[in-house]
Symmetry: C2
Subunit: 199 residues, 2 copies
């Protein structure tokens, strides 16, 4: 086996472990991840898994990073295909609701805030940075909607907070009260918010 093949095989194994860990973290949280259980699930030895991730925290960070990439690919990047202004802002919210649906209400990213907000360390730093990224994406979309003359000028941090609130509530309510009702409330909230803040 050439060293290139070995490297790409190694990367594929690493990806498969992350994929499996991501699925299990959706239900147990990142703190529920165990190298032992994961090794069993992917049919490897514990030391085999440790060869790819130096520590449990390295694995947790890789899973969190992978969740963020998925969210970006599912929500933020496709929304860029919409014209700037309200169409793009609305697309972010719609795709975010689709994301909640795809996660069946168990979102690693939302759960990670509950898990790490009171635990200083590398994971909390990552969570904070990710939250800042989503906030900034909404902030930027709101600013563009103001620039395009779609929204009234205002405090874009406030706008981002309010839009984030809606997505959070759709996620929070969907597993308990059903996704259809929760999404309907979320869509209605976005419509009402846009109407209240239109230029």
């Amino acid at each position: 086996m050439s060293s290139l093949t070995a490297t790409s095989k190694g990367a594929a194994t690493r990806d498969a472990i992350i994929e499996r860990a991501y699925e299990s973290a959706r239900f147990t949280g990142l703190e529920g991840l165990s190298i032992g259980t994961l090794a069993q699930a992917v049919g490897m030895s514990k030391s085999g898994v440790f060869a790819h991730f130096g520590s449990r925290e390295d694995l947790q960070r890789a899973v969190l990073e992978s969740a963020a990439i998925r969210f970006g690919n599912a929500v933020l990047i496709p929304a860029l295909a919409e014209p700037r202004g309200l169409p793009r802002l609305r697309a972010i919210m719609r795709l975010w609701f689709d994301w909640v649906h795809a996660q069946a209400g168990s979102c690693v990213l939302v759960a990670s805030v509950n898990e790490y907000d009171d635990r200083p360390g590398a994971l909390r730093d990552m969570v904070m940075q990710q939250e800042q990224t989503w906030h900034d994406a909404l902030r930027r979309a709101a600013q563009l909607a103001i620039d395009e003359g779609h929204l009234r000028a205002g405090d874009v941090d406030q706008y981002a907070f309010e839009l984030y609130s809606i997505a959070l509530a759709v996620n929070h309510k969907s597993s308990l009260f059903g996704e259809a009702q929760s999404r309907r409330h979320g869509e209605q909230a976005v419509d009402r918010w846009c109407a209240a803040n239109s230029a």
Copy 2:
């Protein structure tokens, strides 16, 4: 010791165990509770704790119930002292933000939704019932504000969803980005929401 004294001593011990368990659940979640660790923390034997709670789940239910009573006492009951309509609705939100502050962003009730929304059983049923209670409280306050001529007539379930969203976001953001900023956004969101929906 009379049987009455024995009973009241038993109740006091039970309350002390719940109090301790509540404090630890704020950081570990209800699923992080362990009878062993708790017994150590209150200076009892494991069987001593089991004498008060037949099972770990009984303890978790008692802690969840206690959290709901605290929330009611801190938020919903004092708000009733305000005149019905917008003053009471605003009081609920203000007291809710105070609650987030008092919990330092680690709220057993919010976390319990993440823990149990995908685990059918007695705890999930309790969580659902509690979420319904908070929703209904907001719904009722919104309906009274309509009846008083303070808010425009509209879908009160939608109103409740939107107000709940704001409280959820204040909780979600406060540990990561600081309480002061998060609360300011929350208060601003309530002001803006009331202005947008005033009669």
